[in-house]
Symmetry: C2
Subunit: 373 residues, 2 copies
């Protein structure tokens, strides 16, 4: 597989990105196309990465075409308004990556840059898969069960969602979980505020019967709640992009706060400080288990092509795993599978009929009061 | 202050609840009215609590009227449909607590029972404060800054919200944070998916200008995101009840998962197990810092009276702190302050005018696509 890698995107660009690409080209069967300012890329390549040992033979990779450079001198900054920037800067590195995929010169696009710009660029250049209303950003989260990471979507592409979109998210998530994350029969949950069928807001109350009765091919386990995010008992959770983004960032915040508290308690006391030394390998192991970098970034599902968005703070490791995820998504043809499954979805009933399908007690408000104005 | 305590609500009722009430009556200036099945309450009182030392003189408290019992033999179960249950069981313990407040025989009501039933009962019996559209459940969360807990509302009473309600949540949260949590000048944030003014969904984009320009008396710091939940730099965060509930439960899930991972890594290795022994006090201290019990439960704001809802798994400690929070809320007359401040709020402009107030780039979609159907 050929990976178009945006060398200019992310806080650590181009150095970490470039070396992530080198590692992917050296250690896997894939070839990597570094897209960005050629001078900056060549400069980064001249300084070997201290953590990558042995250093791959960059000259040989370039000679054999396993690694190549496509030059462009435009790029999108983190603070640019995403949609406007990719429209204005026609040759920004993200757009060039997408065009390589569009023209069949690359099989997957990977970027650690502005995720809004990435989504906008994919839509402008690749368009949408036939039948998909809105592409979604899916994120992989660690769980209490080490070999069962959670795929959460949408993680921020669509802030206000129609319930039909949630059905598409469920199908796309099911496919990615099976083909790329290797779950044989993913269990799909609908994010709500309680596991009972009747719990939820207007969106989830409409999506619930749709997922239960009108989405063949998924294993729908019903409503899930915040407690289920890290429980390791669900493979795919669907929600609107606002809620997904809040879940993602709140989890990071909670983990960070806990780590900080533990550190402060231990460092605040000489005895604890000494006692903690033998445990350092265990704490490092914990950090590794929680490390989102190894899960290969967030796929943008619903566009015709394998598009992987990684965290802005990505290091070479995150880029390496993201390239691997892009390669798998392309090799298993996730997009074609999405098109086929979305095309087979049954007609959605009218909203009124859908409400009739709702669990009996759904109509009863939890806290009665004046109508929503 | 006189606290009406629902002795029948919660997983550990009546024993832990009753003893939490005893402790509050013995250690504070408040008197406590235990509401529930008298035989069960008296039985619980006969078995002294092993963790409460010295055991308070229950007989003396009862004689002096610092502790009293109001009998009722109905109660609401966790699995009951909340609104229907409080309507059907007129004399359930929650309803009796509310009536004591309504009739001026108690100053605050505290329950660890079904929170939906609690909210419904408060609405049926106490009604709403004049001018408040919908009461909200506020939750106190620990933060990285030990003496700066976060008040998050709504945490689940209103799943679909109008943007005007969020303005009321902001005012009510500001008041509770000042009067009960002791923050002099609470910073109020609007939960969104990025800190930039233009980020958010339809609800937050309408609420933003309302909070910035039409809510005198609050210190509005703009949009906050999931990363800010535990950062300790915000005092009050407002959001709809769906998002608030997801934040609350996801945080609990993340903390639980991290604790579990650490435990498994340490217990899986004899050397680590031995090395961890001297650190046990530090780990206990961490657990204490994260312990939600000490923050005094979740107030239901917007009803005329001090109503505190605590976690279903509350122990005597949680009940003790909840009684203290109820007492403070009543003593500072949170409800009267809410009525005054809500009454002074300026007229809300029409939706169209509000949109004109939005930050310039708010109209630009992050990922353009077909309109929401």
């Amino acid at each position: 597989m050929r990976i178009a890698l945006d060398a200019m995107g992310g806080d650590n660009a181009p150095y970490e990105i470039v070396w992530g690409g080198v590692l992917a080209a050296a250690r896997t069967e894939d070839s990597v196309i570094l897209v960005g300012d050629e001078a900056a890329i060549r400069k980064a390549l001249r300084h070997r990465h201290p953590k990558i040992r042995p250093t791959p033979d960059v000259e040989a990779l370039l000679r054999e075409g396993r690694l190549s450079i496509v030059h462009t001198d435009e790029s999108v900054a983190m603070e640019d308004a995403p949609a406007a920037a990719v429209r204005r800067k026609k040759n920004c590195s993200i757009n060039v990556c997408m065009r390589l995929v569009k023209e069949g010169k690359a099989d997957a696009a990977v970027s650690a840059g502005n995720s809004g710009a990435m989504a906008a660029s994919a839509l402008f250049i690749l368009g949408r898969i036939k039948g998909v209303a809105r592409p979604a950003i899916a994120t992989v989260l660690p769980s209490s069960c080490a070999d069962r990471p959670l795929l959460l979507l949408d993680a921020g592409a669509n802030t206000d969602c129609h319930h039909e979109w949630l059905r598409e998210f469920a199908v796309m998530g099911d496919i990615y979980s099976r083909l790329v994350l290797g779950r044989e029969r993913p269990e799909v949950g609908l994010m709500s505020i309680g596991t009972e069928d009747c719990k939820g807001n207007e969106l989830t109350k409409h999506a619930f019967p749709l997922l239960r009765d009108y989405t063949p091919g998924i294993l729908f386990k019903g409503n899930v709640e915040g407690h289920d995010v890290f429980a390791g008992e669900t493979d795919v959770i669907v929600c609107d992009g606002f809620v997904g983004n809040v879940i993602l960032k709140t989890s990071e915040s909670a983990a960070h706060a806990m780590g900080g508290w533990l550190k402060r308690i231990i460092l605040g006391n000489l005895f604890y400080k000494l006692a903690a030394v033998p445990l350092l390998p265990a704490l490092r192991k914990l950090r590794h288990q929680m490390d989102p970098e190894i899960y290969g970034g967030a796929p943008l599902l619903g566009v015709p092509g394998a598009v992987i968005i990684t965290h802005g703070s990505s290091t070479y490791r995150a880029i390496f795993y993201a390239c691997a995820a892009g390669s798998r998504a392309a090799a298993h043809n996730v997009s074609r599978e999405i098109e086929a499954r979305i095309g087979e979805l049954p007609e959605v009933p009218l909203d009124e009929d859908l409400v009739a399908h709702q669990p009996a007690s759904a109509a009863e408000p939890v806290a009665p009061g004046p109508e929503k104005r």
